[in-house]
Symmetry: C2
Subunit: 236 residues, 2 copies
DNA sequence: GGGCACAATATTGTATACAACTTCGCGGAG
DNA sequence: CTCCGCGAAGTTGTATACAATATTGTGCCC
């Protein structure tokens, strides 16, 4: 079976243009080039990508459905700012879904799958070495998607994709450690265990990996409210 | 906290018109008034709802994202026809998510919540008594959403909503018993246990309820392929 | 009579024009 | 000086016009 979704989050050039734009913006969010709260003006985007607002609106709608973007009627689209509660929920959901997919992946992974995962990790290391922080962040999330994909449960994989995209926003808002990227050794370990076809350990390791990530967040409602301008500059 | 989503799947009249249409179509699918595979012409819908194609297209896009509708580029939108594999996945995902929400609901349900659930069941019975098969089918699914809502995990609730919508299509395609609606006694039992604040039993009962539903399906790939015309009339 | 090519029709995709709404700035009244 | 209201500018929402693509129908050729 051929994976229906492009593994690099890049639309083929002959695809629907709105999907191309949605992916480009999505990627910019993943890589923390677009901060939570950033305004996404329609004319501006239309100009950047050389299409009409019609297309841009379709793309924004897609992103809104994935909860990466907030569309306020008559007031425009903004990169989403998950509340602490939402952030909590995203990770709880991941902790529910991903251990299961890790287990399934350990059961089903082919040699080719494992090869792909290893290549993925190599790219991740490479990006970090090159100082491409954004790229590493993005790839780090995508590894989780790749693992879910091996489990061959498209429905759950789609959920996970959506959760990982939102995790990017959560990390941008609430990460307390500077580099809250998945530590590489964690990912190395995961892939090794999948290669070893050890479902129980894969499940457990994924769970603990997610708990680690979760606990690296600072979700105190008091410190980080959904950062509005008033809030940021309120002291003055 | 006020529930942000309308519990009756009906958009307020002052809301965005595309959401109104999306909900109307969604409901028609829920109630099996729109069969899987039905073509959803843009002009036709625009005419029915008295809006321009712009709005209709937005609505169709929303439905496509929920996987209730399949949009084939340049060829139109059709009510989705989940494959047996997809059907399987939908129920597996439900079996993973819903027992958890049932547990949580049993822990958190207020008296008002329980009252709402009971009223919901009453409406369900009522619809059946009136012979409103479609309405009963719809309400039956919505009860699961209501329970998820009590768990107050919006992220997971959204997933479940999406899964239940798709379940409607799955039932339309693969149900082997005539009335594959959740049996009322099953729902009665669920609500009772939630009222009794018994999380363990709630979790177990939801799980077995879903397994029941799942096993009422005939997912043999040979018998029910995604019904295309060729397939239906192939014998001639 | 069957099959293929081409024209006619219908439907979807995109851009643009216009309407509605929000926001910002100005000016006057208190 | 502050506050309210009004108007201008800018942005989003919707409808429509046009372009591109798929589908259907017709007629010619074999």
């Amino acid at each position: 079976m051929i994976h229906p979704i492009s593994p690099v989050l890049q639309a083929p050039s002959d695809a629907a243009p709105d999907k191309t734009i949605a992916m480009a913006v999505s990627r910019a969010i993943h890589e923390h080039r677009l901060a939570p709260g950033a305004k996404l003006g329609e004319d501006e985007l239309a100009d950047v990508y050389g299409v009409s607002r019609t297309i841009v609106r379709a793309a924004l709608r897609t992103l809104a459905h994935e909860q990466l973007v907030n569309i306020k009627r008559n007031r425009g689209a903004y990169v989403a700012q998950p509340s602490p509660k939402e952030a909590q929920e995203v990770f709880e959901a991941r902790e529910l879904l991903e251990p299961r997919t890790a287990r399934e992946a350990a059961l089903r992974a082919t040699a080719a799958d494992v090869r792909r995962l290893k290549m993925h990790i190599a790219k991740e290391h490479d990006a970090l070495d090159r100082g491409d922080h954004g790229g590493a962040l993005f790839l780090s999330g995508q590894l989780h998607v790749e693992i879910a994909r091996i489990a061959a449960q498209d429905t759950i994989t789609n959920f996970i994709e959506s959760l990982i995209a939102r995790s990017s926003l959560v990390v941008a808002l609430y990460s307390r450690r500077e580099s809250a990227i998945c530590e590489h050794h964690a990912h190395d370990g995961l892939v090794e265990i999948i290669e070893a076809r050890n479902p129980d350990e894969a499940e457990a390791l994924m769970k603990s990996h997610l708990v680690d990530l979760h606990s690296a967040l600072n979700l105190e409602a008091t410190t980080h409210a959904p950062r509005s301008l008033k809030d940021v500059l309120g002291g003055l």
